[in-house]
């Protein structure tokens, strides 16, 4: 023990004696360890740490599935079947997202919340901190439905955290609800949700059949029950009852997914890529420090030879070197944790839109342990080569050597090996970044199918109490369209059931009316009014748009379809005037528009149909095309709307440019992070080769000077040095190229319209790295060529 203590003491002294070396090594390591810690904090919170609910491994999400969609939302009827017949759940609950107008007192506020069945909170294992949760029957028809549970946030924000809030009444969509409880802070995975109200399940209405899919189902399985057991049971239930399901659901089934996996699944590919990237950065950092240690190796190997001559066995020598590198690693870890602190802040803001609040990264004990583990691993990794080299000193040789040691060939080989690996790792990273960058650029250039410039969009809401009938809503929308269109600076106005890239939209089956009905063709459907197509900047290719005369309760059923529908259903015919069977009715096709990327910018557009809003006047978003910068109009528009309906909040004001940008956020995040890591990697690699060159040239100055004295031109010397330096970098680039070719395939699923072996990316990466290598070699080489031979020789 005391011997180890002594090793530590000497190690610290050695580090203190070379402050420059120590600082560079620590910062290099800190960059690597900090980046790894920060990324791991995300991995930890999303993939490793259990969800913040008691026995969270018992929590599952349940989906209905159909061929091609393995996570469809659930119909009320299917939920009822499971709830009634499954024996494997402690609790089973549905929820659906809702937005209601919270009115009374201040400005009307549109608030998101969840409609949940009564077992929702018990399934999660959450108990309100104030008041109570829902009880059985509160979600039943005729039950005590007008009750609300507030989230901590809403309670604090709107009710000042008043514990007396229970039993008070609040007004949602102008219906009074009684507050029964308040949730603890941050317990819902739906960040927007501010309240919970009962999802009233009406067994008679369409609401509760097996055909309409808009609900989500969560369950808590009984202890000891596995996911596959539950899934088998639910599939069995579906099989037994299949006759009672709509005919199109014959080959539908059920999927049960652990709740954690629902969130982990989406982010896992990004996280794996990022983790791979930071691992490469760390390896480069280790190679660099290893190189630094080697550069000091001459003095050290003499010291170690003396120690060996005085009786140290090789384990003691290895231990001492390793203790020293571990000390460096620990210091690097400490500084790295500081970096990570900032990194986690940065990551939190970058991942804000991608992850629920609850899953945001934090520096906790897991992360700390990881970080220290990584640091120790690094310490061993970069210490092992120098330790191994010095543990077997050639005593006879080392003891005779003076301080001015010559570089042994094997040491130069070790250094070259390190430079080779640095360059190989850096090239792999560069290729990865290049592929993502090119995907991103291509995405920016992708035509979304509409013109996002100079647009303003926002959402409207129609509480049942105020707008009980479809006509009421339609009238309001019409009125609003006209009022807004009259505003100066507005070019056109339209409304739709779901705007593109807003995580919103409905899909239905469709087919030709003149062919037998089919259940394998699914279209996205939007219900529009006003000048929707011109406000969106969607070119009408043929026929006519949906006009105001189509938007009546009694107007005939007409549809505008996009080119994909034409391609799929009417490849050789003129679709105008043909009839489409859709929502169990026959609709006439009157126009054709270009395809729009409704759901994702990076996926091919879904076939889409557009109908008059009079057939589905439910959720509504408005879109305005403006002559001036769009955001300048927000005030005027808001005023106009409040004039039309003083209780109408305008929610989610945004431009379509913002919507496009937001839809790229995950990719942008990945790209920025990868770019950051690549920059660090490339700097480390160039420092690495610069260091190796300076060291090698320093050792060879004498030799070079003799050459000069013998008549070699400066140019010859430069060539000698450049060739010597370029060799390891070129080998590194070649090795990295091979590795990148092999590994790029792993990224393929995340690329957009770029092949994993995109030649442009590969060539650009090689050129960039080659340039960096050339520059890092050029400067020490020039210095070497400039040395006055006489000075150097006399110095010897």
């Amino acid at each position: 023990m005391s011997a180890l203590f002594q090793d530590i003491k000497y190690g610290l002294r050695m580090l203190a004696k070379n402050p420059g070396f120590t600082a560079v090594a620590i910062i290099t390591l800190a960059l690597g360890i900090g980046a790894n810690t920060a990324i791991f904090s995300v991995v930890n919170s999303v993939l490793i740490k259990p969800l913040p609910y008691p026995d969270s491994q018992q929590l599952v999400r349940i989906y209905e599935t159909l061929p091609g969609f393995d996570r469809n939302s659930v119909s009320g009827g299917a939920f009822k079947d499971w709830h009634g017949q499954s024996s494997k759940f402690a609790h089973l609950a549905v929820y659906e997202e809702t937005r209601l107008n919270l009115t009374g007192g201040r400005m009307p506020e549109r608030v998101s919340g969840l409609k949940v069945s009564s077992e929702f909170l018990s399934a999660l294992g959450v108990t309100p901190t104030v008041g109570r949760g829902f009880v059985a029957g509160e979600d039943a028809v005729g039950g005590n439905n007008r009750v609300i549970v507030l989230t901590h946030q809403l309670w604090q924000g709107r009710f000042g955290g008043d514990a007396g809030v229970v039993a008070r009444t609040v007004s949602l969509d102008q219906i009074p609800y009684t507050v029964i409880g308040v949730l603890p802070p941050n317990v819902l995975l739906q960040d927007d949700a501010m309240f919970l109200v009962p999802d009233v399940i009406d067994a008679a209405g369409a609401n509760w059949e097996r055909a309409g899919h808009w609900r989500q189902v969560i369950g808590r399985v009984l202890p000891g029950v596995t996911v596959s057991e539950v899934q088998a049971e639910l599939r069995g239930i579906k099989q037994r009852l299949t006759a009672e399901y709509p005919s199109f659901k014959t080959d539908w089934s059920v999927a049960v997914v652990p709740m954690q996996e629902v969130y982990a699944g989406d982010t896992r590919p990004i996280l794996v890529v990022l983790l791979g990237a930071v691992a490469l950065v760390l390896l480069i950092a280790c190679a660099n420090v290893s190189n630094l240690l080697l550069a000091r190796g001459n003095a050290r190997s003499r010291e170690m030879a003396i120690r060996a001559a005085l009786g140290a066995d090789s384990w003691r020598i290895v231990r001492q070197i390793l203790v020293e590198s571990l000390l460096l690693a620990v210091a690097g870890c400490a500084v790295g944790l500081l970096f990570a602190l900032f990194g986690v802040k940065l990551l939190t803001s970058m991942f804000a839109g991608l992850l629920p609040q609850v899953l945001q990264p934090k520096l906790d004990i897991n992360v700390l342990v990881f970080s220290i583990g990584v640091a120790c691993g690094c310490g061993l990794l970069f210490g092992i080569l120098p330790a191994w080299r010095t543990s077997k000193p050639d005593l006879n040789h080392a003891l005779k050597e003076t301080e001015r040691a010559s570089a042994s060939r094997s040491k130069r080989r070790s250094q070259s090996f390190l430079v080779v690996s640095e360059f190989a790792f850096t090239l792999m990273l560069l290729v990865g970044v290049g592929l993502f960058l090119r995907s991103f650029v291509l995405l920016l250039e992708t035509n979304p199918g509409f013109n996002p410039r100079q647009t303003l969009a926002f959402d409207l809401s129609f509480p049942d109490a105020k707008y009980p009938k479809g006509e009421d809503r339609l009238r309001f929308i019409k009125d609003l369209n006209a009022r807004v269109a009259a505003l100066p600076g507005v070019e056109s106005v339209g409304a739709t059931s779901a705007l593109p890239l807003s995580n919103d939209g409905r899909t239905e089956f469709a087919g030709r009316a003149d062919k037998p009905p089919r259940t394998d063709y699914i279209v996205a459907c939007n219900f529009v009014s006003g000048d929707y197509f011109s406000a969106m900047g969607m070119p009408l290719l043929r026929g006519r748009a949906i006009s105001e005369s189509d938007n009546h309760a009694k107007a005939s059923r007409v549809l505008v379809v996009d080119e994909s529908v034409v391609r799929d259903l009417y490849p050789d015919e003129d679709p105008i005037g043909q009839h489409l069977s859709f929502l169990d009715e026959s609709w006439e096709i009157v126009g054709i528009v270009a395809p729009v990327r409704q759901f994702f910018l990076d996926r091919d557009p879904r076939p889409t149909v557009y109908g008059p809003q009079s057939y589905s006047p439910m959720s509504t978003s408005m879109i305005i095309r403006t002559a001036q910068p769009a955001l300048a109009l927000v005030k005027a528009v808001r005023k106009t709307i409040l004039e039309a309906d003083p209780d109408q909040p305008i929610a989610n004001v945004r431009t379509l440019e913002q919507a496009v940008r937001n839809s790229l956020a995950p990719r942008r995040t990945t790209l920025i992070l990868l770019g950051l890591f690549a920059t660090v990697a490339i700097s480390l690699a160039s420092v690495g080769i610069y260091g190796m060159m300076s060291c090698a040239i320093g050792q060879r100055t004498r030799e070079l000077c003799i050459c000069t004295a013998l008549g070699a031109q400066r140019r010859d010397i430069m060539r000698l040095v450049l060739i010597g330096g370029m060799k390891p970098s070129i080998i590194g680039i070649v090795v990295g190229l091979a590795a990148a070719l092999a590994l790029a395939r792993l990224l393929e699923s995340q690329l957009f319209e770029v092949k994993a072996h995109d030649p442009l990316v590969f060539i650009a990466s090689v050129c960039l790295l080659g340039l960096v290598a050339a520059l890092s070699i050029y400067f020490p080489a020039r210095r070497a060529a400039k040395v006055d031979p006489m000075v150097a020789l006399r110095y010897e």
Partner: protein, 221 residues
Amino acid sequence: MIKLHNLDRYYPLAGGRYYVLRRIALDIPEGEFVTIMGPSGAGKSTLLSILGMLDAGWEGEFFFFEQPVHKLDPKRRMELNKRYVGFVFQQYHLLDNLTVAENLDIPLSYRDVKLAERKALVADTLDRFQIVGKKDLFPSQLSGGQQQLVAVARAVIASPKLILADEPTGNLHSGQGKEIMELFKKLNNEGTTIVQVTHSEANAAYGHRIIKLQDGWIAGN
């Protein structure tokens, strides 16, 4: 204790071998005090480092306490070194980053001596060599002679059975040199075997016999 038979040490040379030691035969019984002399470059230091197991590039037979060193692997050789040998290097070879006291402590720390005992031994030795005042200085802060003193102190501190000293008094004032020789004499009387290299006839006189080396050959006993 030491038996050498037909021991050669050579360096490869373009087109042949350059012999530093040639057909060395030597027998040093335990308890002897031997002096090796000879002109510069004769191979004295080379011989000494072979005896101390620090040089492995030789051929021939070498028995150490009846153990055939020529058949031992490097690890076993270093164990013999650690167990029996104290070495005074011609170039001192003090560790630059350790203080005088720490330099003295090194051989003890590699020999599993208890900490308290080590402290006592270091204090004793500092006292014996009259360098207590220098104990916290680094080698670079010592004069050449003081460094040599520390090097000798470090060689004897672990009470080795064999002391190999390569010109241990070269840099010392004759009075101090004499003290070292007296110390060797005393250790020898207590049973320690000593092999020293020196150019000084006076120092050689402390030993029992002189081995003369000339161009790698033993010229005479």
